[in-house]
Amino acid sequence: MHQFLFLLFGAFCVGGAVNLLVQRKTINSALSLIVVMGSLALLYLLLGAEFVAVVQVIIYAGAIMVLYIFVIMLLNAGEEEQAKGSNVAKIFGIPGLFAGGMIGIWVLLQHRPEEKLIPIGALYGPADQVGMMLFTKYLLAFEVTSILVLIAIMGAVVLARRSHNS
């Protein structure tokens, strides 16, 4: 059951990602990205990290992607123009993808831990555990990230503010 669900949502995730690149209309690409986010959340849930899963849905699918859609609606972006494509991409595209995939799989197989499935709950799932980790082990990274976000907010305010001297 577990494996079946993993394969199902993994397939959704990859399918969404491929569709995201293939689609020529911006809104369809954005919708595929939502599918990717949603199936990623379900994969986190299968790993027993329910807090991370729900936060993934709230932040990525519920907030960030809404802004993407908002911008697409506001600018009324149409179909993208298709370039002719370079000959290098035509010749080496599929073999290159194949080789890259093989190298990736080979590296993953080399670094595979022992033949052991991780049971549900072995990872840091509940919100209180995640909170403890954030405020003890990863405190520096957490605070530095918050300063980074603050800088981004200030940048947005500076850009959005009407200039008084003009």
Binding site: I27, L31, I34, E50, F51, V54, V55, V57, I58, A61, G62, A63, V66, L67, I69, F70, I72, M73, L74, P126, A127
Partner: protein, 357 residues
């Protein structure tokens, strides 16, 4: 409990909850027409059945039989997807809501909650991030409206859905922050855990609900943000009929329009459920020891449904009372008033929780 029993119980619970929810949705429409009618000194529906009670049925038949037209030049796939998305998101979140305590029927004990189970120690337990799932589903509900407006290829619809998505993203922040105080006090994210944190009374009759435990500011923030989230008056700018014809569902007809309509009312019910679970103790209430035991068993459901009724009536009452905000007022109210107030509430609550710990 074996897997088969679990499955059967779950299916029965889903069927009953969905049936009750859809009935409540249909009769909230009737109640709204009736109450607003009385407020405006007229009768409201009175022709179909006694007191117009069969009006929802007649409306349903009308929606099904009307011509269902799809205008040309719409973005067809998304146009068809949007109403379904809106309705599914509106109906799903009820699964997390604890409607009542554990009941014992035919030798099976189960809590009156779709996602609830009885754990090994005989206590009711549910998903331990329940409230976050409800917030997540609510935040996905924006897509139904946003995509409906965009795919309709009409300027009224587009303006309506632009307004809706900006408004819902803005008020979601205050909505989430207003719940943080309650979560700090109950130190759990599970909805049935939050109800259990509010059991018990002061002086034997005043229930220990979070609204009485110092979260009344949060309650008012929540109610205002929730009105905005459900696009109800005074925040109904996405479908402001005096400016935008009907806003995001201008181009929808028959059953597709009815799906948006049902989604709006189902969202109202969900918001009322969450408000009563978070602030008014869910199915708990003051004890009434003088009632016979057989009646006592139904008390939790009576408490819960009367709280829901109170909130739905409040929605209708406010609709009959208040005018609509201007759009800049709406944004200023959300960001400059509700948001700082919600932040202040979180800080003050955290301070008191830390002192007590």
């Amino acid at each position: 409990m074996s897997a088969l029993t679990f499955l059967i119980v779950a299916v029965i619970k889903i069927a009953i909850t969905l049936g009750v929810l859809l009935t409540v949705v249909a009769y909230t429409v009737w109640l709204e027409r009736k109450v607003v009618g009385r407020m405006q000194n007229r009768w409201g529906p009175s022709r179909v059945g006694p007191f117009g009670l069969l009006q929802p049925l007649a409306d349903g038949i009308k929606f099904l039989l009307k011509e269902d037209l799809t205008p040309p030049y719409v973005e067809k796939n998304i146009y068809l997807l949007a109403p379904g998305l809106a309705l599914i998101m509106a109906l799903t979140s009820i699964a997390m809501v604890p409607i009542g305590p554990i009941i014992h029927l035919f030798g099976i004990s189960t809590p009156v909650q779709i996602t609830g189970v009885v754990d090994a120690s005989g206590q009711a337990s549910d998903i331990n991030v329940g409230i976050l799932i409800v917030l997540g589903i609510t935040s996905l509900g924006v897509y139904g409206i946003a995509l409906a407006g965009w795919s309709s290829n009409s300027k009224y619809s587009l303006l309506g859905s632009l307004r809706a998505s900006a408004q819902m993203v803005s008020y979601e922040v205050s909505l989430g922050l207003s719940l943080v105080g309650v979560l700090l006090m109950s130190s759990t994210l599970s909805l049935s855990g939050i109800v259990h944190a509010q059991l018990g009374t002061w002086f034997g009759f005043v229930p220990q609900w979070f609204i009485f435990k110092g979260q009344f500011v949060a309650f008012f923030i929540y109610m205002m943000a929730a009105f905005a989230e459900t696009n109800r008056i005074p925040f109904d700018l996405p479908e402001a009929e005096t400016e935008l014809v009907a806003g995001y569902h201008t181009e929808y007809s028959a059953m597709k329009f009815a799906m948006f309509f049902m989604a709006e009312y189902a969202n109202m019910v969900t918001v009322a459920c969450i408000a009563s679970v978070m602030f008014l103790g869910g199915w708990s209430g003051p004890p009434l020891p003088f009632l016979p035991v057989a009646v006592q068993a139904f008390l939790p459901l009576v408490w819960f449904s009367s709280k829901i009724f109170f909130f739905l009536f409040l929605y209708i009452w406010i609709r009959g009372t208040l005018p609509r905000f201007r759009y800049d007022q709406l944004m200023a109210f959300g960001w400059k008033f509700l948001f700082p107030l919600a932040l202040a509430n979180v800080i003050v609550t955290a301070f008191f929780v830390a002192i007590r710990a």
